[in-house]
Amino acid sequence: MHYSEQKLTEEKVFKDPVHRYVHVRDQVIWDLIGTKEFQRLRRIKQLGTTFLTFHGAEHSRFNHSLGVYEIIRRIVDDVFDDRPKWNKEDRLLSLCAGLLHDLGHGPFSHSFEKVFDLDHEHFTQEIILGNTEVNDVLTKVEPDFPKRVAEVIGKTSANKIVISLISSQIDADRMDYLQRDAYFTGVSYGQFDMERILRVMRPHEDQVVIKQTGMHAVEDYIMSRYQMYWQVYFHPVTRSAEVILTKILHRVKELYQKGYQFKQEPTHFTAFFENTLTLEDYLKLDESILFYYFQVWQDEADEILSDLCLRFVNRNLFKYVEFDPAKEYKKLAELSTLFEKAGINPDYYLVVDSSSDLPYDFYRPGEEEERLPIHLLMKSGEIRELSRESEIVDAISGKRRTDHKLYFPEDMLKDDKTKKNIKKQIRMLLDMRS
């Protein structure tokens, strides 16, 4: 029997708090899970710094990837099987792409990618196509199979149906992370009837559409995305931790570029600083490595680096005030000058954070063919965009709410041992109680 069709002698199951069980029968899937590149995802948290706000949010990209695989498995084996517009030969491609879609994520990837101008999607492609264990497994299926999987994940495949299972406005990725993140953070939003949505999904031309009768289940899913964004993903305390983490990475990069002598050489970062990064370097980095450096950098002579690491490790985060850039940008310039006079470097300690810094996307009805919206399959066979049928979706996908906050170290500003008068002025500008 060809490798692509080989089944395990006994089905393997992973206990899973969201889907109860993740079922694996295919040898290929089992082998992929066992590769070192996939196992590395155990050491990368799904929600980055969110664990500092919601202590339960310690789940990993490994958990999530298995979850996405399981949702796709249910769609292709239980819902799409024998449907006229579904090609059964795309089954394994869909499963592999779902399982591997987040393979290139690094530790705290949002901050890391911003500072070092990287893109995890690029590394996902490199891992799948490069000299890796994952590539060895996929190549055994067919020599061009790694390329086909990479193209689906990169959304550049001609097979749009398979792409839309993994990456569209209603896909297995979002359906898993919304439920999983809700479960692990302990919040009550994020719930929706996934079983119902799966049952009403239909392959249709080059996209997956939803039967009209399933509209209310999809409304719940859209509401869940909306709630999770504001209540969990964009939580101001999580953002504070993210701000500090980003500033640590900026500081260490700046120090390295200035020739600063580190007590502990940042060996794992050298290739990132010098733009000589290889896939091997990238794969060596995980969250345990980062936390090691955050620990040792607390003892560095550079006060900013040491202070920021102490803050991150011990959760002594920055405080924040609401900030309206339109009305307050002059005040921001004034604050920046005062920070400098107070001996507090504004580049590291006065930070504006905007909603566009964290683009977990909202549902958009799709204007001028920007992105493919969710389409309903009407009884007449006609296809209609969701927000035209649902008043609830229409209401929350209209004018968007945006948000900006100004972060600063309250403790430093309240420390009147030095520059007392300047700090008082800053506190007044920030409306802090003295």
Partner: protein, 169 residues
């Protein structure tokens, strides 16, 4: 601070008016690929490179009152026009970002139609592939657009012109 917002405002100021969200997306993507330091990250979507960050940043600028967005009905869909407001101009005068020759490139791009810019951005997206593979990608991924070989050649020429413009300056 707010540098990324300022860069985007500068791009719109340099273009005068940008008509269409798709056009705005493609112009910033092309400018970024050519050399300009826009931070927004783009991914390939059904209709080519698209940045959610850019969409959000535009929404923020509209909410701040720095950008004016006019929504108008055109055929079966809505079209949006973007210009800088007076408040936006004032903000930009205090927060100008140094991006030499941006105006030249953006004015040129703004004179092209969205369909052509979509093709140019798609060609640039696949710039790591051989030319024949890129052409195949355009024909398979952009089937509905029915691009001709002539248009693809023009797209390559256009990219070269933009790159020369940046280098010469």
């Amino acid at each position: 601070m707010l540098k990324d917002h300022a860069k985007l405002m500068q791009a719109i100021a340099a273009s005068g008016e940008i008509i269409g969200r798709k056009k705005l997306q493609k112009m910033i993507y092309i400018a970024k690929k050519v050399t300009f330091p826009f931070q927004e990250r783009f991914q390939f979507h059904f209709y080519g490179p698209y940045s959610e960050e850019l969409t959000l940043r535009v929404e923020e600028l509209c909410n701040m009152g720095f950008l004016d967005e006019v929504k108008e009905k055109k055929g079966g869909y809505y079209q949006y026009r973007y210009t800088l407001t007076d408040n936006g101009k004032e903000f930009l005068s205090l927060n100008e970002v140094e991006m030499p020759y941006l105006e030249d490139c953006l004015t040129d791009m703004n004179g092209q139609n969205a369909r052509f810019l979509e093709l140019v951005s798609t060609v640039l997206y696949f710039d790591n592939l051989e030319k024949d593979e890129v052409i195949e990608k355009v024909f398979t991924l952009k089937k509905k657009q029915n691009y001709t070989m002539d248009e693809i050649i023009q797209a390559y020429q256009y990219i070269e012109e933009l790159q020369t413009k940046v280098k010469q300056n």
